[in-house]
């Protein structure tokens, strides 16, 4: 009798211990952090820890993933039904078909109020009320200038409203006077080039979602190529690399090898940490083109995927992260611009940022109301990446005399149309 009772108890014990891990694992989610953005695992970890404390039994695993891996490997994982529960992505519309509609799992009204326009970018051009994720930070393209070099050269820094040509002229004078290698540099990115293109009148995409290759784009490409040919911009970035590969040379600005570096607001934290007081620098207002004084908006989002086994946990975590006090904490650590209505209104403190960085943030934020409608439309276009890839590939060919500008424009049109055709084939 004793043995039988003992046997039953032992069996129950084995059963409980064998099922307990399964029960615990069932409420575990994996998040791919954007290591090269402000939403890195380091910055999200305190929020994840607070969520776990507030929700015993739920575990959030943060995995640091490089930008290139998110860009190239994640879509293939998602296409095969695999991948994390949540990931930080930049291609908001392009991956929309894989998103989980979070509306049943989050405070839908709150999300609608806080991120009305950015939620639209997550829908990939489809008219519905799905909540695909939590928009992270708003990023703004923009230029940084080495003010110390301007002072050494005795050249006044162009004022707000200066055109791209005026900036090129001024930085050329500074580079010549100070012996700096290059006047201007721009990240090898179709997103960065789009800022220049739209200010020159390029539409890039119309209201119906059709790609547009127009005189504005031609003028922008011609100007861009001219700057490379006359040495204003180095060939190392756009000229030396092929395909759609993303490259940046922040190190050139850090080492004062360039007077003006055109990147974006996500680099502010890096500027603060690595440049700091090495030399005087500042963020400039959007240079003007013939059409407008605009730069591209951007920003990633933490999106949830439909294949997740834990939609409630995913929704609970993103809802928790989306609360102003938590989101503010991440943005503050990352030194990034908020995209949510409440935080835009009340502001985000940046206690670790220098005065120069805070001025830079203010300048970036001031560009948002000036942004051309074409910039917002392009950012929300589902096939934005197809156009950006085509721009980087073909402009590099023009720089290396493989194509004329007119031939490049034809090829850009063909490349984008082929990509859209392949995506739409059903």
């Amino acid at each position: 009798m004793k043995m039988t009772n003992f046997g039953v108890i032992a069996a129950l014990g084995v059963l409980m211990t064998s099922t307990a891990p399964a029960a615990i694992l069932a409420q575990e989610i994996t998040v791919f952090c954007g290591e090269e953005s402000g939403f890195s695992c380091t910055n999200i970890q305190p929020i994840a820890d607070a969520f776990e404390s507030a929700n015993p039994g739920k575990t959030v695993n943060l995995e640091p993933v490089p930008y290139q891996a998110i860009l190239e490997s994640l879509p293939v994982q998602l296409a095969s039904g695999e991948g994390p529960d949540i990931a930080f992505v930049n291609d908001l519309g392009g991956l929309s078909r894989y998103y989980l509609d979070l509306r049943p799992y989050v405070d839908g009204d709150y999300f609608d109020t806080e991120w009305s326009q950015t939620l639209q970018w997550l829908r990939g051009g489809v008219s519905n009320d799905a909540i695909g994720g939590m928009p992270a930070a708003l990023t703004v393209n923009g230029g940084y200038v080495n003010v110390t070099l301007f002072e050494q050269a005795g050249v006044p820094v162009p004022e707000e409203g200066a055109t791209w040509e005026e900036w090129a002229e001024a930085t050329r004078k500074v580079a010549e006077a100070t012996g700096t290698d290059f006047s201007m540099e721009m990240d090898r990115s179709g997103h960065r080039f789009a800022s220049l293109a739209i200010s020159y009148g390029a539409e890039l995409v119309d209201d119906e979602g059709n790609p547009v290759v127009d005189d504005g784009l031609k003028a922008a490409i011609e100007q861009f190529v001219a700057w490379h040919k006359d040495g204003t911009m180095p060939m190392d970035l756009w000229g030396a690399v092929g395909g759609a590969t993303h490259r940046e040379l922040f190190s050139d600005f850090l080492n004062a090898n360039t007077v003006l570096y055109f990147g974006g607001s996500w680099t502010l934290g890096q500027m603060d940490r690595e440049v700091g007081d090495l030399f005087d620098w500042k963020v400039i207002s959007a240079p003007c083109g013939p059409s407008s004084c605009t730069v591209m908006p951007g920003g990633g989002a933490l999106v949830a995927f439909a294949h997740t086994q834990e939609p409630e946990t995913v929704g609970a975590f993103l809802n928790f992260l989306a609360q102003p006090e938590n989101l503010s904490q991440v943005l503050s650590a990352a030194v990034e611009i908020p995209s949510s209505k409440t935080l835009v209104e009340q502001g985000v403190p940046y206690p670790t940022a220098s005065e120069r960085t805070q001025e830079g943030l203010a300048t970036f934020i001031a560009q948002v109301p000036k942004m051309d409608e074409a910039a917002f439309r392009f950012q929300g276009w589902r096939y934005q990446r197809a156009m950006m890839n085509a721009l980087t590939t073909r402009i590099s060919q023009v720089l290396n005399d493989e194509l004329t500008v007119d031939a490049a424009l034809e090829r850009i049109k063909e490349d984008v149309n082929l990509a859209i055709e392949a995506a739409k084939a059903q």
Partner: protein
């Protein structure tokens, strides 16, 4: 029986334990299927693996090449026939990529047609010279053999990054040139220099492998043949051309074909070193396939599959050529 004999006997008994454990099963199986069919029992697991991981992907690739959309699951891909092949092969003049619908594909093909012969000749030539030197009675021979083989063990990404740091505008090479008062070079910006360094880096990374194979071939040549030649006062060139090369021919053939196949498949080093640039100057066919299928958005798996099958056909031709040449050299 000594203690070492007992120890050997004990180890032997332990080592034969697995064989003795399966013996009843194997004996029973042999009774059922017969001794003639027993080898198949050992071959089938490997054959299944080859079919699953080598042949099946080829058929899946063929399926992808005749279907469209950017979906991954076969059931979600509509049949489009030869559209992808038509798109790739649509050219007014195959010698001028700008007249082609998919100009980047033909630029990659053109680059590969130049890269492969130059790289293979350089690779095999330098590997042969190195093997000949290492075959001699030189001091530190073992050390040098290791040194030449070392790059083969490195990851291609590590190789490419290292050389990128050396060759970039502010890299070590320009630093050395500047310190000597020489003009720095645009090694990765100029098309011709970028192409040269692409060949150089890939040869540097892989020649050790072929050197070892050729060294083994050289060491298999009987020494008395060289001694006889020495007695006949044959000079170095005659020894090399009349003895070394003919006797090394079978090994050279294998090395040559392996080098060609490896060269056609070059991707990782160049993708990291130059990204296929400047422009498309160092874009080879595998990079085109990768970018079309995996790097650009939306992904065009069908077009990438069609391009990879065309590449596969080219490699098949080389393999058949190697088999034919190998057969004729065996027949004398």
């Amino acid at each position: 029986m000594t203690s070492s004999d007992r120890l050997s006997s004990a180890f032997g008994a332990m080592a034969s334990l697995p064989a003795r454990a399966v013996e009843p099963f194997m004996a029973g199986l042999q009774r059922i299927i017969g001794i003639k069919r027993m080898p198949w029992f050992f071959l089938v697991p490997n054959l299944v693996a080859v079919v699953l991981f080598c042949l099946l992907p080829v058929f899946i690739n063929i399926f992808f090449s005749v279907t469209g959309s950017d979906r991954l699951y076969p059931s979600e891909r509509p049949f489009i026939g030869g559209y992808n092949y038509q798109t790739l092969l649509d050219c007014s003049n195959y010698l001028d990529p700008s007249t082609c619908s998919r100009d980047l594909f033909w630029r990659a093909v053109g680059n590969s047609f130049v890269f492969v012969p130059l790289q293979v000749v350089a690779m095999v030539g330098i590997a042969l010279l190195t093997a000949i030197c290492l075959n001699g009675n030189i001091k530190g021979r073992g050390f040098f053999r290791g040194v030449f083989f070392f790059p083969v063990m490195l990851s291609p990404v590590v190789v490419a990054l290292t050389w990128q740091w050396i060759l970039q505008r502010t890299g070590a090479l320009n630093g050395i040139f500047t310190s000597m008062g020489l003009e720095s070079g645009a090694w990765l910006v100029d098309r011709n220099w970028a192409f040269f360094w692409s060949i150089f880096v890939t040869v540097w990374a892989h020649m050790g492998f072929y050197t070892i194979i050729l060294l083994a071939g050289l060491q298999a040549i009987p020494r008395d043949v060289y001694e006889a030649a020495k007695m006949d006062s044959a000079n170095h060139w005659r020894v090399f051309s009349r003895i070394t090369v003919p006797l090394l021919q079978p090994v050279l053939l294998v090395v040559f074909v392996l080098a060609v196949i490896r060269s056609v498949q070059t991707f990782d080093e160049l993708y990291v070193l130059t990204g296929g640039g400047p422009g498309s100057a160092t874009t080879l066919i595998v990079q085109y396939i990768y970018e079309t299928g995996f790097a650009v958005q939306p992904r065009n798996f069908g077009l990438a599959a069609a391009a990879s099958l065309l590449l596969g056909l080219v490699l098949l031709v080389f393999t058949l050529l190697q088999m034919r040449l190998s057969r004729s050299s065996k027949n004398g």
